[in-house]
Symmetry: C2
Subunit: 204 residues, 2 copies
Protein backbone atom coordinates (compact mmCIF):
# COMPACT_ATOMS: atom_id res chain seq x y z
CA UNK A 1 0.00 0.00 0.00
CA UNK A 2 3.01 2.28 0.05
CA UNK A 3 2.87 3.22 3.73
CA UNK A 4 3.17 1.90 7.24
CA UNK A 5 0.28 1.34 9.59
CA UNK A 6 0.16 4.05 12.24
CA UNK A 7 -2.22 5.92 14.54
CA UNK A 8 -2.93 9.64 14.24
CA UNK A 9 -4.81 10.61 17.38
CA UNK A 10 -6.65 13.94 17.32
CA UNK A 11 -7.45 15.24 20.79
CA UNK A 12 -9.08 18.52 21.82
CA UNK A 13 -12.21 20.19 23.10
CA UNK A 14 -15.58 19.69 21.48
CA UNK A 15 -15.77 22.24 18.68
CA UNK A 16 -11.99 22.49 18.28
CA UNK A 17 -12.22 21.03 14.78
CA UNK A 18 -10.85 17.51 15.36
CA UNK A 19 -13.35 15.73 13.14
CA UNK A 20 -13.18 18.37 10.42
CA UNK A 21 -9.39 18.16 10.20
CA UNK A 22 -9.35 14.37 10.52
CA UNK A 23 -11.88 14.03 7.68
CA UNK A 24 -9.76 16.29 5.47
CA UNK A 25 -6.66 14.22 6.26
CA UNK A 26 -8.62 11.06 5.49
CA UNK A 27 -9.48 12.49 2.07
CA UNK A 28 -5.92 13.66 1.38
CA UNK A 29 -4.67 10.19 2.26
CA UNK A 30 -7.19 8.61 -0.08
CA UNK A 31 -6.04 10.99 -2.84
CA UNK A 32 -2.50 9.80 -2.22
CA UNK A 33 -3.57 6.17 -2.62
CA UNK A 34 -3.09 5.38 1.07
CA UNK A 35 -5.48 3.19 3.02
CA UNK A 36 -6.84 4.99 6.05
CA UNK A 37 -9.84 4.81 8.34
CA UNK A 38 -11.34 7.33 10.73
CA UNK A 39 -12.64 6.31 14.13
CA UNK A 40 -14.79 8.94 15.76
CA UNK A 41 -17.75 9.23 18.07
CA UNK A 42 -20.15 8.58 15.23
CA UNK A 43 -18.97 5.12 14.29
CA UNK A 44 -17.60 4.02 17.66
CA UNK A 45 -20.46 4.98 20.00
CA UNK A 46 -22.80 3.11 17.72
CA UNK A 47 -21.50 -0.32 18.66
CA UNK A 48 -18.02 -0.75 20.18
CA UNK A 49 -18.60 1.71 23.02
CA UNK A 50 -22.39 1.82 22.94
CA UNK A 51 -24.32 3.32 25.86
CA UNK A 52 -26.43 1.08 28.14
CA UNK A 53 -29.65 1.91 26.30
CA UNK A 54 -28.24 0.47 23.07
CA UNK A 55 -27.58 -2.86 24.77
CA UNK A 56 -31.09 -3.34 26.15
CA UNK A 57 -31.62 -6.55 24.16
CA UNK A 58 -28.95 -8.20 26.32
CA UNK A 59 -30.84 -7.47 29.53
CA UNK A 60 -30.45 -4.79 32.18
CA UNK A 61 -27.52 -6.25 34.13
CA UNK A 62 -25.47 -6.74 30.97
CA UNK A 63 -26.31 -3.27 29.65
CA UNK A 64 -25.38 -1.61 32.93
CA UNK A 65 -22.12 -3.51 33.20
CA UNK A 66 -20.81 -3.12 29.66
CA UNK A 67 -22.64 -0.06 28.34
CA UNK A 68 -20.64 3.15 28.66
CA UNK A 69 -21.73 6.54 29.96
CA UNK A 70 -19.61 9.51 30.96
CA UNK A 71 -18.28 8.62 34.39
CA UNK A 72 -14.49 8.58 34.69
CA UNK A 73 -14.48 4.78 34.71
CA UNK A 74 -16.72 4.61 31.65
CA UNK A 75 -14.56 7.11 29.79
CA UNK A 76 -11.45 5.10 30.62
CA UNK A 77 -13.00 1.95 29.20
CA UNK A 78 -14.20 3.89 26.18
CA UNK A 79 -10.63 4.93 25.46
CA UNK A 80 -9.26 1.48 26.22
CA UNK A 81 -11.57 -0.17 23.68
CA UNK A 82 -10.79 2.39 20.99
CA UNK A 83 -7.09 1.93 21.71
CA UNK A 84 -7.48 -1.84 21.36
CA UNK A 85 -9.12 -1.36 17.98
CA UNK A 86 -6.25 0.91 16.94
CA UNK A 87 -3.82 -1.90 17.77
CA UNK A 88 -5.70 -4.17 15.39
CA UNK A 89 -5.99 -1.56 12.63
CA UNK A 90 -2.28 -0.79 12.85
CA UNK A 91 -1.49 -4.49 12.59
CA UNK A 92 -3.72 -4.56 9.50
CA UNK A 93 -1.49 -1.86 8.00
CA UNK A 94 -3.95 1.04 7.99
CA UNK A 95 -3.31 4.69 8.74
CA UNK A 96 -5.78 4.91 11.60
CA UNK A 97 -7.21 8.33 12.36
CA UNK A 98 -8.96 8.86 15.69
CA UNK A 99 -10.96 11.99 16.49
CA UNK A 100 -12.16 11.93 20.09
CA UNK A 101 -12.10 14.57 22.83
CA UNK A 102 -10.02 12.09 24.89
CA UNK A 103 -9.63 14.52 27.79
CA UNK A 104 -7.43 12.47 30.13
CA UNK A 105 -3.67 12.42 29.72
CA UNK A 106 -3.23 9.03 31.34
CA UNK A 107 -5.68 7.35 28.95
CA UNK A 108 -3.90 8.77 25.91
CA UNK A 109 -0.56 7.82 27.41
CA UNK A 110 -1.63 4.22 27.90
CA UNK A 111 -2.73 3.93 24.29
CA UNK A 112 0.50 5.53 23.11
CA UNK A 113 2.50 2.98 25.09
CA UNK A 114 0.62 0.03 23.64
CA UNK A 115 0.90 1.28 20.06
CA UNK A 116 4.58 2.15 20.53
CA UNK A 117 5.17 -1.35 21.89
CA UNK A 118 3.82 -2.75 18.61
CA UNK A 119 5.32 -0.09 16.33
CA UNK A 120 7.86 2.32 17.82
CA UNK A 121 7.31 5.83 16.53
CA UNK A 122 3.95 5.12 14.92
CA UNK A 123 1.69 6.95 17.37
CA UNK A 124 1.10 10.59 16.49
CA UNK A 125 -0.74 12.69 19.03
CA UNK A 126 -2.24 15.77 17.41
CA UNK A 127 -3.58 18.42 19.76
CA UNK A 128 -6.28 20.39 17.98
CA UNK A 129 -6.12 23.46 20.14
CA UNK A 130 -8.57 26.34 20.35
CA UNK A 131 -9.48 28.32 23.45
CA UNK A 132 -12.66 27.27 25.22
CA UNK A 133 -14.26 30.62 24.30
CA UNK A 134 -13.68 29.94 20.63
CA UNK A 135 -15.05 26.39 20.82
CA UNK A 136 -18.04 27.56 22.80
CA UNK A 137 -18.77 30.33 20.30
CA UNK A 138 -18.65 27.79 17.46
CA UNK A 139 -20.75 25.21 19.36
CA UNK A 140 -21.52 23.28 16.15
CA UNK A 141 -23.68 20.67 17.89
CA UNK A 142 -25.19 22.89 20.58
CA UNK A 143 -23.41 20.90 23.29
CA UNK A 144 -21.99 23.91 25.14
CA UNK A 145 -25.37 25.57 25.34
CA UNK A 146 -26.87 22.42 26.81
CA UNK A 147 -23.91 21.94 29.14
CA UNK A 148 -24.22 25.51 30.45
CA UNK A 149 -27.90 24.81 31.02
CA UNK A 150 -26.94 21.82 33.16
CA UNK A 151 -28.36 19.32 30.69
CA UNK A 152 -25.05 17.56 29.90
CA UNK A 153 -23.30 16.38 33.05
CA UNK A 154 -19.51 16.04 33.10
CA UNK A 155 -19.04 17.96 29.88
CA UNK A 156 -15.39 18.48 29.03
CA UNK A 157 -14.31 22.10 29.42
CA UNK A 158 -17.39 23.05 31.44
CA UNK A 159 -17.91 20.53 34.21
CA UNK A 160 -15.10 18.05 33.53
CA UNK A 161 -11.42 18.85 32.92
CA UNK A 162 -9.44 18.70 29.69
CA UNK A 163 -5.81 17.75 30.22
CA UNK A 164 -3.77 19.09 27.29
CA UNK A 165 -0.97 16.97 25.84
CA UNK A 166 2.46 17.81 27.28
CA UNK A 167 4.45 16.66 24.28
CA UNK A 168 2.19 16.10 21.28
CA UNK A 169 3.76 15.24 17.94
CA UNK A 170 1.79 18.15 16.53
CA UNK A 171 0.12 21.16 18.16
CA UNK A 172 -2.43 22.72 15.82
CA UNK A 173 -3.60 26.27 16.36
CA UNK A 174 -7.17 25.82 15.26
CA UNK A 175 -8.32 29.29 16.31
CA UNK A 176 -6.10 31.01 13.75
CA UNK A 177 -5.77 28.59 10.83
CA UNK A 178 -8.20 27.03 8.40
CA UNK A 179 -8.97 23.30 8.52
CA UNK A 180 -7.21 22.92 5.14
CA UNK A 181 -4.05 24.49 6.52
CA UNK A 182 -4.18 22.24 9.58
CA UNK A 183 -4.74 19.10 7.49
CA UNK A 184 -1.70 20.09 5.43
CA UNK A 185 0.36 20.25 8.62
CA UNK A 186 -0.70 16.70 9.51
CA UNK A 187 0.24 15.42 6.05
CA UNK A 188 3.66 17.06 6.29
CA UNK A 189 4.19 15.45 9.69
CA UNK A 190 3.42 11.99 8.29
CA UNK A 191 5.74 12.62 5.36
CA UNK A 192 8.53 13.87 7.63
CA UNK A 193 8.19 10.83 9.86
CA UNK A 194 8.57 8.47 6.92
CA UNK A 195 5.08 6.96 7.03
CA UNK A 196 4.97 6.85 3.23
CA UNK A 197 7.34 4.61 1.30
CA UNK A 198 6.25 5.86 -2.13
CA UNK A 199 5.82 9.38 -3.52
CA UNK A 200 2.29 10.76 -3.88
CA UNK A 201 0.22 9.09 -6.62
CA UNK A 202 -2.30 11.05 -8.61
CA UNK A 203 -5.88 10.09 -7.74
CA UNK A 204 -8.83 12.39 -8.03
Amino acid sequence: MGHRGCVVWFTGLSGSGKSTVANLVDHLLWQRGAHSFLLDGDNVRHSLTAPPAALAEYGTAFAQRFGLGFSDEDRQENMRRVGAVCELFVQAGLITLVALVSPFRQDRQRIRQRIEALRPGDFFEVWVDAPLEVCEARDPKGFYRRARAGQLPQFTGISSPYEPPLAPELHLDSANHSPDQLAGQVMRLLEARGVFSVPPAARS
Copy 2:
Protein backbone atom coordinates in the same frame (compact mmCIF):
# COMPACT_ATOMS: atom_id res chain seq x y z
CA MET B 1 -8.41 -2.93 -3.71
CA GLY B 2 -10.44 -5.01 -6.09
CA HIS B 3 -12.87 -6.43 -3.57
CA ARG B 4 -15.64 -5.58 -1.15
CA GLY B 5 -15.28 -5.50 2.59
CA CYS B 6 -16.90 -8.55 4.18
CA VAL B 7 -16.74 -10.82 7.21
CA VAL B 8 -15.81 -14.50 7.01
CA TRP B 9 -16.66 -15.96 10.40
CA PHE B 10 -15.12 -19.36 11.21
CA THR B 11 -16.92 -21.16 14.04
CA GLY B 12 -16.29 -24.62 15.45
CA LEU B 13 -14.89 -26.60 18.33
CA SER B 14 -11.40 -26.08 19.64
CA GLY B 15 -9.15 -28.25 17.47
CA SER B 16 -11.52 -28.23 14.50
CA GLY B 17 -8.99 -26.33 12.42
CA LYS B 18 -10.58 -22.87 12.33
CA SER B 19 -7.33 -20.95 12.77
CA THR B 20 -5.39 -23.17 10.41
CA VAL B 21 -7.92 -22.75 7.61
CA ALA B 22 -8.39 -19.02 8.31
CA ASN B 23 -4.63 -18.47 8.15
CA LEU B 24 -4.44 -20.29 4.82
CA VAL B 25 -7.30 -18.18 3.45
CA ASP B 26 -5.54 -15.04 4.72
CA HIS B 27 -2.45 -16.05 2.75
CA LEU B 28 -4.41 -16.94 -0.39
CA LEU B 29 -6.12 -13.54 -0.21
CA TRP B 30 -2.76 -11.81 0.14
CA GLN B 31 -1.50 -13.73 -2.90
CA ARG B 32 -4.51 -12.45 -4.80
CA GLY B 33 -3.69 -8.87 -3.85
CA ALA B 34 -6.66 -8.55 -1.50
CA HIS B 35 -6.48 -6.76 1.84
CA SER B 36 -7.53 -9.03 4.66
CA PHE B 37 -7.04 -9.31 8.39
CA LEU B 38 -7.51 -12.20 10.79
CA LEU B 39 -9.06 -11.70 14.21
CA ASP B 40 -8.53 -14.65 16.52
CA GLY B 41 -8.05 -15.39 20.17
CA ASP B 42 -4.38 -14.51 19.96
CA ASN B 43 -4.76 -10.89 18.93
CA VAL B 44 -8.16 -10.19 20.47
CA ARG B 45 -7.74 -11.60 23.98
CA HIS B 46 -4.58 -9.57 24.30
CA SER B 47 -6.35 -6.24 24.49
CA LEU B 48 -9.89 -5.82 23.15
CA THR B 49 -11.35 -8.67 25.21
CA ALA B 50 -8.62 -8.96 27.82
CA PRO B 51 -9.23 -10.93 31.02
CA PRO B 52 -9.47 -9.12 34.37
CA ALA B 53 -5.84 -9.89 35.26
CA ALA B 54 -4.63 -7.97 32.19
CA LEU B 55 -6.50 -4.86 33.37
CA ALA B 56 -5.00 -4.74 36.86
CA GLU B 57 -3.41 -1.34 36.27
CA TYR B 58 -6.90 0.16 36.13
CA GLY B 59 -7.80 -1.09 39.59
CA THR B 60 -9.79 -4.08 40.82
CA ALA B 61 -13.31 -2.72 40.31
CA PHE B 62 -12.57 -1.71 36.72
CA ALA B 63 -10.86 -5.02 35.92
CA GLN B 64 -13.74 -7.04 37.35
CA ARG B 65 -16.34 -5.01 35.49
CA PHE B 66 -14.75 -4.87 32.05
CA GLY B 67 -12.35 -7.82 32.02
CA LEU B 68 -13.80 -10.94 30.42
CA GLY B 69 -13.76 -14.51 31.65
CA PHE B 70 -15.79 -17.47 30.46
CA SER B 71 -19.22 -16.97 32.01
CA ASP B 72 -22.11 -16.78 29.55
CA GLU B 73 -22.35 -13.02 30.08
CA ASP B 74 -18.62 -12.56 29.52
CA ARG B 75 -18.69 -14.67 26.38
CA GLN B 76 -21.59 -12.63 25.03
CA GLU B 77 -19.67 -9.40 25.55
CA ASN B 78 -16.58 -10.99 24.03
CA MET B 79 -18.53 -11.74 20.88
CA ARG B 80 -20.23 -8.35 20.89
CA ARG B 81 -16.90 -6.50 20.97
CA VAL B 82 -15.43 -8.65 18.21
CA GLY B 83 -18.57 -8.08 16.16
CA ALA B 84 -18.26 -4.32 16.70
CA VAL B 85 -14.68 -4.45 15.42
CA CYS B 86 -15.87 -6.41 12.38
CA GLU B 87 -18.32 -3.60 11.62
CA LEU B 88 -15.43 -1.13 11.59
CA PHE B 89 -13.14 -3.36 9.51
CA VAL B 90 -15.88 -3.96 6.96
CA GLN B 91 -16.46 -0.22 6.69
CA ALA B 92 -12.72 0.14 6.13
CA GLY B 93 -13.09 -2.21 3.16
CA LEU B 94 -11.18 -5.21 4.51
CA ILE B 95 -11.95 -8.88 4.10
CA THR B 96 -12.22 -9.62 7.80
CA LEU B 97 -11.55 -13.19 8.89
CA VAL B 98 -12.62 -14.25 12.37
CA ALA B 99 -11.58 -17.56 13.92
CA LEU B 100 -13.29 -18.04 17.28
CA VAL B 101 -15.11 -21.01 18.81
CA SER B 102 -18.17 -18.72 19.12
CA PRO B 103 -20.36 -21.48 20.53
CA PHE B 104 -23.67 -19.64 20.89
CA ARG B 105 -26.05 -19.34 17.96
CA GLN B 106 -27.69 -16.17 19.23
CA ASP B 107 -24.38 -14.33 19.50
CA ARG B 108 -23.42 -15.23 15.94
CA GLN B 109 -26.89 -14.31 14.75
CA ARG B 110 -26.68 -10.86 16.33
CA ILE B 111 -23.36 -10.17 14.62
CA ARG B 112 -24.73 -11.41 11.32
CA GLN B 113 -27.69 -9.04 11.62
CA ARG B 114 -25.50 -6.03 12.33
CA ILE B 115 -23.12 -6.79 9.46
CA GLU B 116 -25.99 -7.51 7.08
CA ALA B 117 -27.55 -4.17 8.09
CA LEU B 118 -24.36 -2.46 6.93
CA ARG B 119 -23.69 -4.70 3.94
CA PRO B 120 -26.39 -7.13 2.87
CA GLY B 121 -24.90 -10.49 1.90
CA ASP B 122 -21.44 -9.76 3.23
CA PHE B 123 -21.46 -12.00 6.29
CA PHE B 124 -20.20 -15.52 5.60
CA GLU B 125 -20.57 -18.03 8.41
CA VAL B 126 -18.20 -20.95 7.93
CA TRP B 127 -18.74 -23.95 10.16
CA VAL B 128 -15.48 -25.82 10.56
CA ASP B 129 -16.94 -29.13 11.56
CA ALA B 130 -15.19 -32.12 13.02
CA PRO B 131 -16.61 -34.58 15.58
CA LEU B 132 -15.66 -33.94 19.19
CA GLU B 133 -13.68 -37.21 19.24
CA VAL B 134 -11.54 -36.00 16.33
CA CYS B 135 -10.92 -32.59 17.92
CA GLU B 136 -10.13 -34.19 21.25
CA ALA B 137 -7.70 -36.63 19.65
CA ARG B 138 -5.93 -33.72 17.92
CA ASP B 139 -5.92 -31.53 21.06
CA PRO B 140 -3.22 -29.23 19.64
CA LYS B 141 -3.07 -27.00 22.71
CA GLY B 142 -3.77 -29.64 25.36
CA PHE B 143 -7.05 -27.93 26.26
CA TYR B 144 -9.19 -31.08 26.14
CA ARG B 145 -6.83 -32.94 28.42
CA ARG B 146 -7.00 -30.09 30.93
CA ALA B 147 -10.77 -29.76 30.55
CA ARG B 148 -11.26 -33.49 31.21
CA ALA B 149 -9.09 -33.07 34.29
CA GLY B 150 -11.42 -30.33 35.49
CA GLN B 151 -8.83 -27.60 35.10
CA LEU B 152 -10.74 -25.60 32.47
CA PRO B 153 -14.26 -24.74 33.60
CA GLN B 154 -16.99 -24.21 31.00
CA PHE B 155 -14.96 -25.66 28.16
CA THR B 156 -16.92 -25.87 24.94
CA GLY B 157 -17.75 -29.46 23.97
CA ILE B 158 -16.94 -30.82 27.43
CA SER B 159 -18.66 -28.73 30.06
CA SER B 160 -20.32 -26.03 27.93
CA PRO B 161 -22.46 -26.54 24.82
CA TYR B 162 -21.59 -25.86 21.19
CA GLU B 163 -24.58 -24.80 19.12
CA PRO B 164 -23.89 -25.63 15.44
CA PRO B 165 -24.98 -23.18 12.75
CA LEU B 166 -28.36 -24.03 11.24
CA ALA B 167 -27.72 -22.39 7.87
CA PRO B 168 -24.04 -21.54 7.47
CA GLU B 169 -22.85 -20.17 4.14
CA LEU B 170 -20.29 -22.98 4.16
CA HIS B 171 -20.09 -26.27 6.06
CA LEU B 172 -16.55 -27.61 6.03
CA ASP B 173 -15.89 -31.28 6.76
CA SER B 174 -12.63 -30.88 8.57
CA ALA B 175 -12.36 -34.50 9.65
CA ASN B 176 -12.01 -35.75 6.07
CA HIS B 177 -10.32 -32.96 4.13
CA SER B 178 -6.98 -31.21 4.34
CA PRO B 179 -6.75 -27.57 5.46
CA ASP B 180 -5.62 -26.66 1.92
CA GLN B 181 -8.74 -28.23 0.45
CA LEU B 182 -10.94 -26.42 2.97
CA ALA B 183 -9.26 -23.07 2.32
CA GLY B 184 -9.89 -23.60 -1.38
CA GLN B 185 -13.58 -24.09 -0.65
CA VAL B 186 -13.67 -20.76 1.19
CA MET B 187 -11.96 -18.97 -1.71
CA ARG B 188 -14.46 -20.44 -4.17
CA LEU B 189 -17.32 -19.27 -1.95
CA LEU B 190 -15.99 -15.70 -1.93
CA GLU B 191 -15.52 -15.81 -5.70
CA ALA B 192 -19.02 -17.20 -6.25
CA ARG B 193 -20.53 -14.50 -4.04
CA GLY B 194 -18.85 -11.77 -6.05
CA VAL B 195 -16.56 -10.46 -3.32
CA PHE B 196 -13.81 -9.85 -5.87
CA SER B 197 -14.24 -7.26 -8.58
CA VAL B 198 -10.99 -8.09 -10.37
CA PRO B 199 -9.51 -11.40 -11.52
CA PRO B 200 -6.67 -12.91 -9.45
CA ALA B 201 -3.38 -11.01 -9.68
CA ALA B 202 -0.08 -12.81 -9.53
CA ARG B 203 1.78 -12.15 -6.28
CA SER B 204 4.21 -14.56 -4.70
